[in-house]
């Protein structure tokens, strides 16, 4: 969607990431070469820029005012079918959804409007024509291994607008509103706990004495049986918050340390 009259375009990070060149096609068929303004993978958002004038930016609504049952429309290019529209309702609000690859999205809108490959980075709009979300992913039925019907997720417009504004202004995110531990984790399937791979010097966990090889078993009272679980717990906490973190060091008895959460750093690419 066109974000502002300068030609900034908001989309998903997973659409833009890993590419070296971009082309944006307007609804009237006009094509523009685009450049990457910035990416914030933690929220799966990115901004591209096209050069020109007369762009018609979308109007962004207040996603916090959405209620379950509100009628919404998803506009995008599913399977390459340009400017397709599907309809549905807001099925739930404030979901926490894991995308995989360490990306967990908090506060997400669940919608019954069909979301298919190609809808990513489009718009979820209300009946006032205001963008209330950015369609981003669809649920997978774990039993069938296929896309579940009528379960799509959109990043709320308030979050998208905030992040996109920062990307346009600074080229990166300076205030992510996301909690940060300052550790990287091994992605070990079935390990049972989050296994620390490295600790950021001077980061929130370094002062608490957490070391590579430690197991983080719980944060703020929530068990963290995997790196994805830890990511999900952090997604619902805020920077500056003091939390109790349970760890196991060198196979010894578990202990609890208090950590003041930092702020997830913004990235520009």
């Amino acid at each position: 969607m066109i974000f502002d009259s300068k030609g900034d375009v908001i989309t998903n990070a997973h659409v833009a990431s890993g590419s070296t060149s971009f082309e944006v096609t307007l609804a009237n068929g006009t094509r523009y070469a685009a450049s990457l303004v910035g990416v914030f993978r933690a929220d799966d958002l990115a901004v591209l820029r096209i050069q020109g004038n007369g762009f018609q930016p979308a109007t962004f609504g207040d996603s916090s005012a959405l209620q379950v049952g509100d009628i919404v429309l998803a506009i995008g290019n599913p399977l390459g079918l340009t400017s397709s529209v599907t309809d549905g309702i807001v099925s739930a609000v404030n979901r926490t959804v894991s995308e995989g690859g360490g990306v967990t999205l908090p506060g997400v809108i669940q919608t019954s409007a069909p979301i298919n490959p190609g809808n990513s980075g489009g718009a979820l709009v209300d009946l006032e024509g205001q963008v209330v979300g950015i369609p981003t992913l669809a649920a997978i039925d774990p039993q069938l291994g296929d896309q579940a019907n009528g379960i799509g997720f959109a990043i709320p417009s308030n979050m998208a607008k905030d992040i996109a504004t920062q990307l346009v202004r600074y080229g990166h995110v300076i205030n992510s509103h996301r909690a940060y531990l300052g550790v990287s984790l091994f992605s070990v399937s079935g390990a049972g706990d989050a296994l620390v791979a490295s600790v950021e010097p001077g980061g929130p966990t370094a002062a608490a004495g957490i070391l590579p090889g430690d197991l983080i078993t719980a944060v703020d009272g929530h068990p963290t049986p995997s790196d994805a679980a830890l990511s999900e717990v952090l997604a619902n906490l805020m920077p500056g918050q003091k939390v109790l973190v349970q760890i196991i060091q060198s196979g010894g008895p578990g202990k609890t340390v208090t950590i003041t959460l930092g702020q997830y750093p913004g990235s520009s690419s």
Binding site: S19, T20, F22, V24, V85, S120, G122, E128, G129, P135
Partner: protein, 90 residues
């Protein structure tokens, strides 16, 4: 062997008959229960088409018009992003 199976077979048949009777009684009792507190319409077998109230029809038409207007408006701001990797994918 045969004689020892018979009582079981009869028991199963008895349970089935009892179940059918209960089901039948249930159907018989249902209208009576409903008649005591709820208004029902007896099924004559014929299909009756009831026209929706005029207000509902006009509301549906208005909603449809609103959706068309919204789509027309928002589509002006919609784009398709193509990358060197692939076309936009979810």
């Amino acid at each position: 062997m045969i004689s020892s199976n018979r009582p079981r077979l009869l028991g199963v048949l008895g349970a089935a008959v009892a179940g059918l009777l209960r089901g039948g009684l249930g159907w018989l009792l249902l209208p009576a229960v409903m008649a005591s507190g709820l208004k029902t319409v007896a099924s004559s077998g014929a299909t009756t088409t009831v026209a929706p109230p005029a207000s509902a029809t006009s509301q549906a038409v208005a909603l449809q018009g609103q959706i068309v207007d919204v789509v027309r408006s928002v589509t002006r701001s919609a784009v398709q992003v193509q990358t060197s990797r692939a076309w936009d994918q979810a």
